[in-house]
Symmetry: D2
Subunit: 336 residues, 4 copies
């Protein structure tokens, strides 16, 4: 039985706790938060868990094996570093840290200690994302031409992070898992419409060492929620609509075939195959459950998670570069 502590019991913490409580191989040992109202709710839902207001009580407990951290981003690094140093395995919400330097140090610490450090890239465990990865990686789509994500929201405008760190991070975690190559450079434009606040509307272009182009539209101020991704390949194309209840993924048998016209080397004719559409059944399992299962399995077997610290680091590197590009009016910023 893996004994887990949850640090941070706001929006995401209760979901983590519910899942760690529901699976056979783990138990919720501690729940930590400094808001009395949150602790009251924690006690009600998890009456067997111990309650803490100071995370150091948890780190000192030799019976705690793993810690899931779901606090605001600014505290991620220090909490995770302390947990690793206390010998605990760590599941760390995204963004893993507020700088790539911090993320790197977390990776190093976890590697040195041979403890599991996993970034909470929940989308990586979404059945639809797994299907897209399979379609892309198997070559069924052909050469990947573009990846276009729109993730716009009428949600909470945050002051601690901008819309890229808050929203685009989801798409970056999917891209990191799905596309065959890592981006080579980024360019971003955006706007903060309120004085003293963070960028709330942003457009991020990812450039690759190939003909692939990826683009993310992130927006906190949209009139309706939209989560729609297009993946265009030379043979097939995908629409992934997270909000579509029964057909989340549609695969279009519509590629482009180029025919060189015999009469002229300068003339290219494009022959569109307008084929059928296929929507595979997507399991309706909760991605967070799969994430929790994966974390526990990695602890048991001493394996590296698919969304390990390095995945978290890669995404933070992109976000840092995007932030620099935003400030430099869209200048292309190379990665690495």
């Amino acid at each position: 039985m893996i004994r887990v502590a949850i640090i941070g019991y706001g929006y995401w913490g209760p979901k983590l706790a519910r899942n760690f409580a529901a699976v056979e191989k783990s138990t919720v040992q501690w729940i930590c938060d400094d808001r009395p109202e949150m602790l009251r709710q924690a006690a009600q839902s998890h009456s067997n868990a111990k309650i803490a207001t100071d995370s150091r009580d948890i780190l000192r407990d030799p019976d705690t094996d793993a810690i899931a951290i779901a606090t605001p981003p600014a505290s991620h690094y220090q909490l995770a570093m302390n947990a690793l140093k206390a010998g605990k395995h760590v599941l760390l919400e995204k963004p893993m840290a507020t700088s790539s330097g911090q993320a790197k140090r977390l990776c190093d610490e976890a590697a040195k200690r041979k403890q599991v450090l996993m970034a909470g890239h929940t989308f990586v465990f979404h059945p639809a994302v797994q299907k897209i990865r399979e379609l892309v990686r198997s070559g069924e789509l052909g050469e990947i031409y573009y990846y276009d994500a729109v993730r716009v929201n009428l949600g909470i405008v945050r002051n601690d992070v901008d819309v890229l760190w808050d929203v685009a991070i989801h798409d970056l975690s999917i891209i990191d898992r799905v596309l065959p190559n890592e981006p080579a450079a980024v360019s971003a434009h955006g706007m903060s419409h309120f004085s003293g606040s963070q960028v709330n509307t942003a457009y991020l272009t990812l450039l690759f060492n190939s003909k692939l182009i990826a683009h993310i539209h992130s927006n906190w101020l949209a009139p309706v929620k939209t989560r729609r991704t297009l993946v265009g390949g030379s043979r097939k194309m995908i629409i992934f609509d997270e909000l579509e209840p029964s057909e989340k993924i549609k695969i279009y048998d519509r590629g482009v075939t180029i025919t060189e016209d015999a009469e002229s080397v300068y003339k290219v004719l494009y022959d569109y195959r307008m084929g059928d559409m296929h929507s595979p059944r997507i399991e309706s399992t909760e991605p967070l459950r799969a994430e929790v299962d994966h974390f526990l399995k990695c602890i048991e077997r001493g394996e590296t998670p698919i969304s390990d610290g390095h995945a978290g680091l890669r995404i933070i590197q992109i976000l840092e570069a995007a932030e620099r590009s935003l400030r430099a009016n869209g200048r292309v910023i190379k990665l690495k």
Copy 2:
């Protein structure tokens, strides 16, 4: 009765001819094309029109008052200039020319001769676009924060122009008509996925001397046709979906109200008003009919069209800057 000649009888020419034939105040005098099959069709549908394979026959005809040009873009400038010099009023398909220099010379020639020169910006006459203009200009949306257009297609990949000149030009003509200010600079990223061919997937950001940001996603290789525009304001927001049969425009009473929290000058609380949605009835009139009516009215009254040569010029200037930015890897290019 205004006697009109149609030059170019491919995709758009028949639509122009049909509309000029249908309205009371004009008649189709000539149809010109160099493809026998097209002329056969023209003769069948417009048995009273004269047929020409050489546009000079038309220019020489003193009975022809106006010329509508719907040939490929490369021939626009010369045909339009010849028509203006022959004393004809000109309705010129977009893009008006292949360079801003040419467009400028057409404007000058028309101005000197006091003849009507109108760019075929059909969307300007779309009832939904007129409604959006009204909502934006009246202040009903409040301060405009962003304009986001997605226009993607599974259509014909062209070799003569890129996807911005072919597709984004529609959005630019709407933006030119709707938004209160002209863009100050542009940045564009895109990709040509086929060797020797034009950019087929492009992202164009328009920057303004204000907090407004506009963005256009143009794509020839999408699995399904999409034409969806968001206009976000401080008081209300619009979704314009051209393909939506009964509710093309939805107006959301969802703005953002900023409240300065008394306790801290650094902290901004955002109070979302999640209000009602309203979808005004949009007339289902054909925009091209309104365009043709407007052209004829301007000829009769000696008035300047709302999509005059200068509107066409402004859009070509943006497209030229976008093309430079595309080649310079997204560098911001100032407009004048």
Copy 3:
């Protein structure tokens, strides 16, 4: 060259004329209507056709081979009978007549004279309907459990016929073509909301000598247009949405498998297979073009049309029974 006359140039006549003019093997010889405005439009679009205000002029013309009748239903029978007796082939808009007795006499006359009599069941030529027929008839859907059609409109409320004769007739023509059996009885409920006017909202149930049940919801007073048909089979199910631009037909691999539970003969467990969805590409050809082609082909080869007079008769028999049921408060009326 088959020389065709069009009688009735209101809503549907111009479409017929355009298609007969466009195909190679026919020419529009006459257009007949008694409204001067309609004849003016006919003359403009079909300058080579002769114009008549009295259909007898056409019947007397030995050069006319076939007549397409698109007048109001009340005149169908007499015009068609006269045309058949004058030795002309007839394409007759639906409903073919206002009673099954009339329809029967038309069938007999056409059979006696070995002339083509075709009912204008345009949906029979819709590529999506042909696909559904193929799926149903090949057994791919398994046993057909139900056919459910919703066809509601915000259109013209008519006084000459009720909503079943005007709207449900489309669904009946599809059912006649698609389903493996003819209905055995009908039951209908409906309402006329305006005094002295016809039933404008109706629900029609078709009963079969099997476990199949079909149902049609017809309504002139709906807030939005809907045309949505479900066909449920034991192996697969279809959704046919005529207004869906790119995915008119969706085939769901979701049947029901019944498993007898070993423990109890009274207990039946249903095992749903929740499988994939497939949307085959549907050609975007105009059904009326295919209908016109089929009519001309039948004339040339002396063949019986797939929507012959007997198909028209079967549908009128159902409508008559439905009308009786409506008046008898939904009483089940046997067919035949």
Copy 4:
């Protein structure tokens, strides 16, 4: 503090327990079920509740004030009667009983004892249904012409009740709350596609002593879930789509205006007003929470619930009549 017992902890029981636990004025005292797995889950989620396998333990407990019954329908009557006789207030899932006789006896018992008996018509507490009621009852829709509900599902095929008792019951509870009059008679057609099993596809028509007609399509075997209701009035019309995330209710300003044509008393011209559409913001509160709040408020104040036993009785009377009509091949069955 009102102490509540939950009897039945399958699908709906846990939702009831969660809501009674979450509100201030009640506490979950007992949870009763005879399945060990369900009781294990109950103990985990409600560690302070006592667990029972026999409901008589609860009835004997003088500290229990109210009982919420969420067992299969066959046990509803006896459990509720016992609870009432033990002096408990009762919240009883729908259908309240399996016959109107039983339902009547429950009403009488509750009335005699002045205890609260409430039917679990959750939809009555749905904010969208409350909005529809307001629109209908205020006269804003004008005269109500029709009510058309489609509720089809790919769910569990049940053997204990048919699709009307399982699915149409939701629509009947909405109709009971929303429409100004009670239905006067019903007619139903349906089919059981599996031998020995209940009707799984059904069409139910409700007739009123007015020009109103209501119709419910209930189906367990549909390829996709649909919950769509049209309410047509002489002034406005509503579409209520439960599955629409952001616009559950759309109100169309499209009525029908009848103009008597002066020339003829027989001729009626219909003038459609094709107006705007308005989608009011609907609160996203959980209807079950409002139901629980209402139940507790009625207990505290000794008030009659809006979905009292008589509402439950009326719906069972309609279902009984529908069942008779189903068996009599759609014969119209009068209510009362």
